[in-house]
Assembly symmetry: C2
Homo-oligomer: 218 residues x 2
Amino acid sequence: MIKALVFDAYGTLYDVYSVKTACEKLFPKKGESISILWRKKQLEYFFQRQLMGRYRPFDELTEDALVFACKAEGVKPSQKEIKGLMDAYLDLELFEEVEAVLAECKGVQRVIFSNGSPNMIHPLVSGSRIEPHIDKVISADGIKQYKPAAPAYAYALDQLGVTRDEVLFMSSNSWDIMGAASFGFHTAWINRARSQPDNLDIQPEKAYTDLKGILEWL
Amino acid sequence: MIKALVFDAYGTLYDVYSVKTACEKLFPKKGESISILWRKKQLEYFFQRQLMGRYRPFDELTEDALVFACKAEGVKPSQKEIKGLMDAYLDLELFEEVEAVLAECKGVQRVIFSNGSPNMIHPLVSGSRIEPHIDKVISADGIKQYKPAAPAYAYALDQLGVTRDEVLFMSSNSWDIMGAASFGFHTAWINRARSQPDNLDIQPEKAYTDLKGILEWL
């Protein structure tokens, strides 16, 4: 029986590419390319840092990735402009169906578990409409190990007071849902991009194109 | 003083995109896109597997990546055709300057250290012109941990009979040269693609656009 719904944040509940607007405003015609490269490098950097055992808080490596992306796109933001772009991460747009689905999920813990550092993920959630529907927000910074490494999921589980088998984990990110499946959570891949499933020897139990599908678990 | 030159294989000595020809022959007009996606997924799969602690030999995950890439590109190779494409990895082209540079590196151990499984990397080296100039070939399969995780570099070092400080490590792959630098090898990034350096808190000691630059270390 599912007692805790654990949601990834970036890309799953919140659209990380909504930073595009802030990028576009500062750097006309380059907003999209900067925001895509920014996210790509952010992913690379926490993957590599986890692999090398060189932890760095998510806000700092996200800024590292932004600086890389701006340089690659030939723009030179000031420190104040970089701060402005980083602040866009505190005000990401929710995907359309998220609020209604979370409001329907009653009688279970509703938890966000993110690689985002506390100073990114807490303001994001507390400033958004879903805040009343979220019981707990957990950052991987608490153990300083990033998803999809098993110790990160174990750390989140420790905060929940339930068994591994009582958790349904949701993420739109293939690497995240695979990591959660490998760890032993029940898993539902929110495949918003309708991507081809990765060819690994584990798979999520269910796949939906948005969050509405998870209601069948309750 | 440098006593061992340790070279990455794929992308550093050998051009992984030379599999494009074999792909193109089987799937006209799709050779380039398949070979690019094949490499991209190969990288993703060993990164993710190392992160999740789900080791799988490099030949098997390389085939997993190929199967993914073919499906994504809408082609359906037979088992025999898949084997033919995998065989292309045993006969990759050397980059132009490699043989001459290796021949000039005298009085030091010349070592290849690759994530490739023994059944991929040994036939590749023994069938290529540089074989007489290579003293040792080491596969990360010996410890079943992939670069850029520190235990992989430690395993290679153990085979060399020298200290960490006596090794010059070379790779064209940014994630690999960063991992080696983080481990404590001397490092020379063979930046063939003239890529912008990654914005991490470690950097290779030197960067060259091909292997000729390393001769200044001897």
